[in-house]
């Protein structure tokens, strides 16, 4: 509760300073619009549903892409963890690819798929897959030996041991993987949408910039930041916390 109040005061202060700067008229409103103008623009966008459509489009790209990258990441992660040769070859390559910023894939996606939604989803998939893969790989490889021993002495082996013990034991890593995959995908999504032909938040952002609509530019940046932190803190961190507690990896 304390923290919430502190945050509210902080943001109110920030808006006050922002308004103060605007009132000093150092820069024209076309460069630094007033807070009121930004919120009004956002209000209009939501009222005429254009921003709602953008949000829906962005979330569609994100969830399709994220779902695909979680599936691929899980499958490849299991492969890397169980087949040594795959880890030594494909694993090294994925580690290298992981360090490539996802915006780098946008030109390639545009050439392959044009400026449409497929290209965006492709970039989102690339954005999330590698980190998911590496987390699943680590999770499967780091199952506590005591769980395996316990399982074996209770008559479990082979595929049964893998499905009933190795997979559930690596769930904490999978959850962290999903959280990171979401964060990477979200960034990749914005990068891809900026260069796309819409619809989507990123597209509208670049569109607003082209038409010098500074209020909308700042408004969308605020939305992107807000969604990012809300999803991370309310959804993913809570989920992670719950799993870590249940798995006995963290005391409440």
């Amino acid at each position: 509760m304390q923290v919430t109040i502190k945050r509210i005061i902080f943001f109110l202060l920030l808006i006050a300073i922002w308004q103060g700067i605007v009132l000093m008229e150092i820069w024209p409103q076309s460069m630094i619009p007033s807070p009121f103008s930004v919120f009004h623009t956002l209000y209009l966008g939501f009222a005429d549903l254009t921003l709602v459509y953008d949000l829906l489009a962005s979330f569609r790209h994100l969830f399709i892409g994220l779902a695909i990258s979680i599936c691929i990441g899980t499958a490849v992660g299991i492969l890397l963890a169980t087949v040594k040769t795959a880890d030594e070859t494909l694993g090294t390559m994925i580690l290298a690819l992981q360090s490539v910023p996802s915006i780098v894939w946008v030109p390639l996606a545009i050439i392959w798929f044009g400026f449409g939604e497929t290209a965006i989803i492709f970039v989102v998939v690339i954005g999330g897959t590698f980190v998911m893969t590496m987390n699943i790989r680590t999770g499967v490889q780091n199952v506590a030996p005591i769980f395996l021993d316990a399982g074996k002495t209770m008559g479990s082996k082979g595929v049964d041991l893998f499905i009933k013990i190795v997979l559930p034991a690596s769930v904490p890593y999978a959850v962290t993987g999903v959280r990171l995959a979401w964060a990477f995908s979200w960034r990749a999504l914005m990068a891809a949408e900026l260069l796309s032909t819409g619809p989507g938040l990123g597209f509208t952002l670049s569109y607003a910039s082209d038409f010098n609509n500074m209020s909308l530019v700042i408004g969308i940046i605020i939305i992107i930041g807000a969604i990012g932190s809300i999803m991370d803190q309310l959804v993913f961190q809570r989920m992670e916390q719950k799993v870590l507690t249940r798995w006995g990896l963290q005391k409440t």
């Binding site: 005591i146 021993d149 316990a150 002495t153 209770m154 008559g155 034991a169 507690t245 249940r246 006995g248």
Partner: protein
């Protein structure tokens, strides 16, 4: 069923070092229904021996038989209770105890059987709890219920109460003794508590270190439940024996250290 250990040795080959001989020529016969404790200085190979008997590790040489059947892999006729309870955190108490029954009987029967053994260890009210919500003693009770539900012919326990406080430890000892009297399973019980060993066992094996061998085989012919006064003489004898053995280990460690 009789457990026969026939010339079991174990050595670990470490890269760049001389191989460590952990167990050397262990020969042992444990008749059906006997409660046997294994005492010895830490690092003498008790856990290694247990894990070989469980089929989790392979001996470097030697063989193990349950009656006439050779043990080479883990199987449900050999139940293990580890020092940590080793419960699966993603399953609740009931599901944990049902785990070894999964493929053996219909679901309804599994549930009944699991509940029965959980009641036996006083946990009938905690079926839906998850392991992280239980104390260490309760977790160890669940793992005892789990191994009993599996109904192994041989029960291997590796310092099962080592991580528990004295109070809980004594209560669980009494429960284990009662369960053993009811079921008459063959038990091999590793402990570092001489008192615990004498309280529970028909027979106590004392191991020496480097290499791990059985240096003394005591049979305990005291009436149950055992009284402190009755146990004192044997306790003293074993204490002296272990002291000498531990002193020997420490001397060797010191001379190793000065040689390095």
């Amino acid at each position: 069923m009789t457990l026969t250990i026939d010339g079991v040795s174990k050595q670990f080959n470490q890269t760049g070092k001389t191989p460590a001989i952990v167990l050397k020529d262990i020969d042992l016969t444990i008749p059906n229904g006997q409660f046997v404790s294994l005492l010895g200085p830490s690092g003498c190979g008790k856990s290694t021996l247990l894990s070989i008997l469980a089929g989790l590790q392979k001996p470097t040489s030697g063989k193990i038989f349950l009656d006439d059947v050779r043990i080479t892999t883990p199987s449900p006729d050999k139940g293990v209770v580890f020092q940590e309870a080793a419960l699966f955190p993603w399953l609740n108490v009931l599901e944990n105890v049902m785990f070894p029954l999964r493929k053996k009987m219909p679901k309804k029967q599994q549930t009944e059987r699991a509940k029965h053994f959980l009641q036996m260890v006083q946990l009938g009210k905690f079926l839906e709890h998850y392991p992280h919500e239980l104390s260490g003693g309760m977790q160890q009770r669940v793992s005892i219920a789990r191994v009993l539900a599996m109904d192994p012919t041989l029960l291997l326990m590796d310092e099962p109460f080592g991580a528990l406080d004295e109070q809980t430890r004594i209560i669980l000892q009494q429960e284990v003794e009662k369960i053993w009297l009811d079921t008459k399973k063959t038990v091999l019980f590793v402990t570092h508590s001489i008192r615990e060993a004498i309280t529970l066992s028909d027979r106590i094996l004392v191991m020496g270190a480097r290499p791990g061998t059985i240096i003394k085989d005591f049979s305990v012919d005291l009436a149950r439940p055992r009284k402190k006064a009755d146990m004192a003489p044997l306790e003293e004898t074993i204490m002296d024996l272990l002291k000498t053995e531990i002193a020997k280990v420490m001397r060797e460690e010191l001379s190793h250290a000065s040689n390095d």
